[in-house]
Amino acid sequence: MSTLSIGGSELDASWFLLLSAILFGLGAIGVLVRRNPLVILISIELMLNAANLTLVAFARQLENIEGQLFALMSMTVAAAEAVVGLAILVDIFRVRDAEDIDDLSELRG
């Protein structure tokens, strides 16, 4: 297992993975417990970036550039997703006040 050298000190890749896991968990909890649609979107972004961090960390650890490439790709998709998600939200806010996502439940069976 190779190590990373940042600012003279050496860090094991597992630290990055741990950080990533914490970020992902925070994001997931945010999605589940928060009610404001905007915050939910932000939490999703958090989860995406946690995944990106994992990709980059593994890319460094395995000395394989593909992981970084995939992180770039993922960011692009995340940007697109954010645009679409925000656009939908803006549209919803135009017709009604939707501070609580539970108010948007018309599509129940």
């Binding site: 999605v31 129940r108 069976g109």
Partner: protein
């Protein structure tokens, strides 16, 4: 013009007429229908005449209809003397009858009027296709299509329940025959791998026929089977025992239809079939004998029923069955020329009788019960005279056409060498000839003689229109002098029909002798005596009421069929509806639908519409999969 094109034209004229009338006739002025309807049949007749005068012959293939591997069905027309002869009868007599219909159907409104002529032209086309086809497939197509047009025309007055029932009965009976034809064709195809006449016939080993060149060994059993199956078709179409019950009911149709389809042409298709298939029947001797036996028995059977019928058209219907029985007898014993001569002669005099009867019915406001006529001799002289010509021709009085044709058949049956069965059949035919004299006499005296019946619907019947009288007169002339084209019954003179058809059937296989001519005259004199005697003998049934009842019930054939086939089928149908259709098939379909809607209702409970529910399920799923992977990793 080439023969090939001319032959196609014979078919195309009626087909075109039918198409034009079907598309335009109902909204065009009536004169349009009057011109097109009979006109195309006359054109077809002229084309046939051109074929006759051009001494045309040949087997023309126009295009390939079906091709699959080695199996090939061409659309081809066979022009030989037999098909030209049949086309002449169909288009000639047909043109006269369709012209007559212009007057007879005058009380129909515009669309109905056009519909009638459309059907008539469809019939003429189908019948021509039947006789012109050069292979079994198109024979069957024509065969089924004449059945269809017969169905449509019997049920022409579809507002009448009895007409619809009669049409349905005719159709079902004819389909039995169609199935026989198709199965027979299958059997022949299995043996000879071809559907065209020429290929099949060339494969036969005919002992007396004219095609022996490429004879091949064959399985005589399968040939007998095929011949019997084809005979089923012939018997159904020609209303012979035991598939005859539809013909009397078919009289529900308009009278010109009865004259054209149920007397002159379609019902003689069975005779044509046996004639066309003569290379097969010459070899399949059992089937050939069956043809003769069925014919003779039907002739006698139908004649006895005709004695007691009171409906003038039903008398003529049974008489038609009886006369076709004679034709079957003739072709069954190998006297093909005589059989087809009788076909021609019967077309003349029976069409005449039907059309003359139509004149009466028309004048009597559709009353068909002869007991309600009486004394028409005074009121409808021209019709009475023509009807008398037809009647005497039917009885076989010299020198009318019926005498020469019927006596030729009887004479040939009488003189066939070394065949006792045929001599018995001659006796049956002889008895039939006498009964024919009686029932024809009864019909004529009842209708035309004596005092007018008190129940007569019209006091002073109007004379028929010219367009109705002229075809009747033409047919009367033909029935009177047509016999002179073939006078072999007297042992002298020409034999035009037999000679003409000789190129198909070969030369006559035996000749009558002197005794035969004496017997001929004896038959004629006795039959004529009975014709005259019918005036006095009419109430004979008073002495034998049981016989009258038996004959009036038509030997209980309808009741037997009803009991043996119709009722059990009704019962099976009711059972299937009640115990199979509803509880099994219907239930399966309905329950499948219920299952789907029920399941959908159940699953829709999971669709709460709350985002957090979906997200929770999603995350929980992901966690569960992750845990499962970890556990698996740890275990391995």
């Amino acid at each position: 013009m080439t023969t090939q094109l001319l032959a196609l034209l014979v078919l195309l004229f009626p087909a075109g007429g039918a198409i034009v009338l079907a598309g335009r006739g109902w909204r065009a002025p009536r004169i349009f229908t009057v011109v097109i309807g009979p006109g195309v049949v006359w054109l077809s007749f002229l084309a046939t005449l051109a074929l006759l005068l051009g001494k045309a012959s040949g087997d023309f293939t126009y295009w390939t209809w079906i091709k699959s591997g080695s199996f090939e069905v061409p659309f081809g027309l066979l022009i030989d003397n037999l098909s030209i002869f049949m086309c002449l009868v169909i288009t000639g007599v047909g043109a006269l009858i369709v012209t007559y219909s212009v007057g007879y159907m005058e009380h129909e409104d515009g669309p109905s009027y056009a519909r009638f002529f459309t059907y008539m032209d469809v019939f003429i086309f189908s019948m021509l296709l039947l006789v012109l086809a050069d292979n079994f497939v198109f024979l069957i197509v024509g065969w089924a299509m004449v059945g269809l047009s017969s169905y449509l025309l019997i049920g022409f007055w579809y507002q009448r329940r009895s007409a619809v029932l009669a049409a349905r009965k005719a159709f079902v009976m004819n389909v039995i025959g169609d199935v026989g034809m198709i199965l027979g064709t299958f059997v022949l195809f299995m043996s000879y791998h071809a559907v065209s006449y020429s290929t099949v016939f060339q494969g036969l080993c005919a002992p007396t026929g004219i095609r022996i060149a490429t004879c091949r060994t064959f399985d005589s059993t399968s040939l007998e089977v095929a011949a019997f199956l084809l005979l089923v078709g012939a018997v159904a179409k020609s209303a012979q025992l035991p598939l005859h019950t539809w013909l009397p009911d078919a009289m529900e149709g308009p009278t010109p239809v009865s004259a054209l389809i149920h007397a002159a042409t379609m019902v003689t298709a069975g005779v044509y079939l046996v004639g066309r298939m003569h290379p097969i029947y010459d070899v399949a001797t059992y089937a050939h004998d069956a043809v003769a036996i069925i014919g003779a028995v039907t002739a006698l059977f139908a004649a006895t029923i005709a004695i007691v019928q009171v409906d003038i058209k039903r008398v003529l219907a049974y008489s038609t069955m009886s006369q076709i029985g004679y034709m079957f007898l003739a072709v069954g014993i190998g006297a093909y020329g005589a059989g087809f001569f009788h076909l021609l002669s019967h077309a003349f005099f029976k069409a005449l009788l039907f059309l003359a009867a139509g004149n009466i019915i028309h004048a009597m406001k559709d009353e068909q019960d002869m007991r309600k006529y009486g004394g028409l001799w005074r009121d409808m002289r021209p019709t009475a005279i023509t009807f008398l010509v037809g009647s005497l021709s039917l009885v076989g009085v010299i020198p009318l056409v019926g005498f020469f044709s019927k006596e030729e058949i009887l004479g040939l049956a009488f003189s066939k060498p070394d065949d006792n069965m045929v001599h018995v059949l001659w006796l049956v035919g002889f008895a039939t000839a006498l009964i024919t004299g009686f029932y024809t006499g009864r019909m004529w005296w009842l209708s035309f003689w004596g005092k007018p019946s008190l129940q007569r619907p019209v006091e002073h019947p109007h004379a028929p229109r010219l367009v109705m009288m002229v075809p009747v007169a033409v047919l009367a002339v033909l029935a009177a002098v047509g016999g002179f084209i073939e006078t072999r019954a007297l042992g002298v003179g020409p034999a035009a029909v037999t000679d003409f058809l000789g190129s198909v059937f070969g030369p006559p296989r035996w000749e009558g002798g002197g005794t035969e001519i004496a017997v001929t005259f004896l038959t004629m004199i006795l039959a004529t005596a009975l014709f005259i005697g019918a005036l006095r003998l009419r109430p004979w049934t008073a002495y034998a009421p049981w016989a009258q009842r038996l004959l009036e019930r038509k030997y209980y054939f309808d009741e037997t069929y009803d009991w043996a086939f119709v009722r059990p089928m009704d019962w099976v149908a009711a059972f299937a509806l009640r115990d199979i259709e509803r509880p099994v098939i219907d239930a399966a379909v309905v329950d499948t639908g219920l299952l789907a809607t029920g399941a959908a209702r159940g699953f829709s409970a999971t669709q709460t519409g709350y985002f957090r529910n979906y997200a929770l399920v999603f995350v929980a799923g992901a966690v569960a999969i992750a845990v499962a992977l970890l556990v698996l990793r740890a275990l391995s």
